[in-house]
């Protein structure tokens, strides 16, 4: 089991550009969530995808968008990059719920470190 994989691991972009980050969930998982972690802070929830739909969204502008594919993999897109978008972007996968209707354990990828210059 490869676990959650993210690509690329590092990325440098210029202000105003657009970026796409990718995530492959753990085998058997159907839900992907994205987080932004600024230096010295805890991860902040961006949004969650299930059945190719955005189910929940955190307090992030529309410049942040995503997509989930039929194989459950996901992309995070950020348009019109700002210097403040520099952060570690983390992807987590989980099952939406187990057979008892409970939330399940989430597993994180190694992250993509984005630097905007």
């Amino acid at each position: 089991d490869a676990g959650v994989t993210q690509s690329p691991t590092h990325l440098i972009k210029t202000r105003g550009q657009q970026v796409t980050l990718r995530c492959s969930p753990k085998s058997g998982h159907d839900t992907v969530s994205w987080y932004q972690q600024a230096l010295g802070q805890g991860p902040q929830f961006i949004f969650q995808y299930y059945e190719e739909e955005e189910r929940q969204r955190g307090n992030f502008p529309d410049r942040f968008s995503g997509h989930q594919f039929p194989n459950y993999s996901s992309e995070l897109n950020v348009n019109a990059l700002l210097l403040g978008d520099s952060a570690l972007y983390l992807c987590a996968s989980s099952l939406l719920q187990d057979s008892g209707g409970r939330n399940t354990e989430a597993f994180f990828g190694q992250g993509t470190r984005l630097t905007v210059v």
């Binding site: 969530s33 987080y35 991860p43 969650q48 983390l90 719920q97 409970r102 399940t104 597993f107 994180f108």
Partner: protein, 109 residues
Amino acid sequence: GIQVEQSPPDLILQEGANSTLRCNFSDSVNNLQWFHQNPWGQLINLFYIPSGTKQNGRLSATTVATERYSLLYISSSQTTDSGVYFCAVGKGGGFKTIFGAGTRLFVKA
């Protein structure tokens, strides 16, 4: 939204010492996890513990959901335990995770 507070924010230990990290949350949750973030940013799962007590080697955790707190115990600490420990909680369907600000642990040799 749910507020998650972790304490202490910073902790320095001598190798071999024991410690207790605390996580308080402001509303009922049905999901709680503890993570250790290594220097490369990887979040490593320690415990999935919405309630009750679990142990894994030198680590154990207890969540008292009715009183809205969770504790992570580290015994006989080692230098490799250094890093940031996060508590994360979820409420409702799916897993919209709210993270605390973390406890930064440094274990001295």
